[in-house]
Amino acid sequence: MSVLAFTENWDGKFKKISFELVSYAHQLAAQMNTNAVVVSIGNVPEEELKKLGHYGASKIVRVEDNRISGLINKAFTAIIAQVAEKEGADVVVFSHNFTGKALAPRVAVRLRAGMASGVNALPDSLDPFVVKKGVFTGKAIGHITIKSAKKVLTLFPNSVEAIEADENAVIETFTPQLSDAHFATKVLEVKKVTDKVLLTDAEVVVSGGRGMKGADKWAPLEELAGLLGAAIACTRPVSDEGWRPHGEHVGQTGKIVAPNVYLAFGISGAIQHLGGISASKHIIAVNTDKDAPIFEAAEYGIVGDVQQVLPKLIEAVREAKKQ
C-alpha cells in the first residue's frame, strides 16, 4: 500500500508545484496510514531529489532512460504504471498542469482506476473516497466519489500548501520495461516563448487608466505584467490621449476581456470600461478615490496612488516569486 506522486522536473529542477504535490501525497498517505512514494523521470541530481523528502516523501524512485527527451506520453505512462504496481500504490497523484493532464488519464486506464481531476483538497472521506473539485469552470464545486479500488487524482496548482515534513527519503533507481512502441512520438524542437501575452488570451491582465498620469509612466506597469505573465490593457481615455496603443483599449468600444484576474490601476471604473471587464473572474483595483465605482466591481482594493503602490507591489511580487 502507498500513495504515489509523479513529480515533473524542469531541466533537472523541481518547482513549487512539485513540492505541493509531494506534500499532498504525504498528507493523504498519513490519512490512509501509509507512505508517500515519488516517481521522478529523467535526469535529476540526487541533491534535488532529496528535497522531495523534505516535503514528506519516504521513497523516491528514479527512472532514467536515455531514449527519454521531453514528454512522451506512452513511455511515461508505462513507467508510472510499472512503478505504481511495484509500490502497490492505491492512489496515484499528479499535478493538474499540462503534463499531469496528459499522463493521469492514461495511467488511470492502466490501473483501472477511477479518476478525479483538478481536486483542490484532501478527501472528504476515504470510505467512500470522496474528494472536492471545481466544476462548471469555477462556477461551482463538485464532490466526486471514486468507487474503484485504485484511484488517480490530479491536484489543482496552488490549492494546498507545501508543508515541510522531515522524512529521510530513500532514493532507488528503477529500470522500466520499455519497447520502441512506447516512443511513437518524438519531440523535434522546443521553443521558449518570449512574445508578449495576447490581451484576449491572457489569464492575467494588468490595466491602467488616467491615474497613470502620462505616457511616460508605464514602465512599472509593464514590469509587473512581465512578472505576472500578464497582458497589458488600458482605458479609452488613455488610448485616446495616445499614451498607449488602441489595441490595448478595453471596454465597451474596445476589447472585451475575460481573464482570470484583472488588475486595474488608476481606473475609476466608468461603466463603459466595466462593460468590457465584467466577465473577469477576479478584479483587483488600486485607485486614489475610495468612492470610485471600480471598487464596486472589485474583489480586492487598495486606496492609494498607483505611482506609490506599484513599485512596492513589484518588489513584493518579486520577493514572493523567489520562494
Binding site: A108, F136, H143, S148, A184, T185, K186, K191, I302, L313
Partner: protein, 249 residues
C-alpha cells in the same frame, strides 16, 4: 485518412449554474446546449486540414456519447461541415465509462486521427482523451495548439509551461487539443444547415462499461462579497492573495 472528433454536449458558457435534488444534480431546466468550445475548435481544425490537403482526408466524423437529446449538437457539427455523426446511446456519467464507449466504437471502425478537447466546460475533467488513447494503446499528444498534415506526415505543436514543443507522431494517434488549434469556431452556412439534413447520423448501442466515479453532491461558491480593502502600506497582503487565492504566482 479519417478523422474522428469526440464532442461533448455542454451547457452554454453563459448559463447560470443551479442544482436540484438537494444539490445532487445539475439543473438542466431551460439550459441551452452547445458543442464544448474546445471540441468545436478541434472540429474547425479538422475541416481546415481536410479542405487544404486535397483528397488525403477521406472523412471527418463527429461522435458523442449521450442520449437522443444530444443530437442537435451533432447536427450542428454536421452543419458546420462534418461528414457524418455517431451517437453512442449511453448516459455519460464518468470519464472511464465514456472513454470505454468510444473505444468500443473505434475498435470496430478505426480512425487515423482522433481529436478531443482538452477539457469540457461542465465537469472540467481533462480526462476522456487520455483514457481513450490508453484504451486504444495509441500515442497521444496533449495540450496541442497546432496540428499540421504535410506530405502525409503529422506535426503538432504542444503547449508546455513557458513555451511550445514541436512533435511528430505515428498514425493512428489521439490529439488532445486546446485554444490556438484553430482561430475561432465556424458559423454554419445556410448550405451547410441544409446539407446537414441528409448527412448520416448513426446511433450505436452502448457497450458494457464500468463507471468508476460519480458526483454525489454540488455546492455553489459563496456570493460575491464586498470589496475587501487592503492598506496601501501593506501590499504584501495583496501578494498573498495573488499566491494563495488567485494562484497567479
Amino acid at each position: 485518412m479519417k478523422i474522428l472528433i469526440c464532442l461533448s454536449n455542454v451547457p452554454d458558457t453563459t448559463t447560470k449554474i443551479k442544482f436540484t435534488g438537494d444539490n445532487t444534480q445539475f439543473d438542466a431546466a431551460g439550459v441551452q446546449w452547445i458543442i464544448n468550445p474546445w471540441d468545436e475548435l478541434a472540429l474547425t481544425r479538422a475541416l481546415e486540414i481536410k479542405e487544404t490537403s486535397g483528397t488525403t482526408i477521406e472523412k471527418v466524423t463527429v461522435l458523442t456519447v449521450g442520449k437522443a437529446d444530444t443530437e442537435p449538437t451533432l447536427r450542428k457539427a454536421l452543419a458546420i461541415g462534418a461528414d457524418d455523426a455517431v451517437r453512442i446511446d449511453a448516459e455519460p456519467k464518468d470519464a472511464y465509462q465514456v472513454a470505454a464507449q468510444i473505444t468500443g466504437f473505434v475498435k470496430e471502425q478505426p480512425y487515423d486521427i482522433i481529436l478531443c478537447g482538452i477539457e469540457s466546460s461542465d465537469y472540467n475533467g481533462s480526462t476522456v482523451g487520455g483514457m481513450l488513447a490508453e484504451f486504444l494503446d495509441s500515442p497521444s499528444v496533449s495540450s496541442v495548439s497546432g496540428l499540421f498534415l504535410e506530405n502525409g506526415q503529422i506535426r503538432l505543436n504542444r503547449e508546455i509551461d513557458g513555451g511550445q514543443e514541436v512533435l511528430e507522431t505515428m498514425i493512428p494517434f489521439v490529439a488532445i487539443v486546446q485554444k490556438g488549434i484553430a482561430k475561432e469556431p465556424r458559423i454554419p452556412s445556410m448550405r451547410g444547415i441544409m446539407m446537414a439534413r441528409s448527412k448520416p447520423l448513426t446511433v450505436k448501442p452502448a457497450v458494457a462499461a464500468d463507471e468508476l466515479t460519480g458526483f454525489t453532491a454540488f455546492e455553489l461558491p459563496p456570493p460575491h462579497a464586498k470589496c475587501k480593502m487592503i492598506d496601501a502600506e501593506n501590499v504584501g497582503e495583496l501578494v498573498k492573495v495573488f499566491r494563495n487565492e488567485l494562484k497567479i504566482i
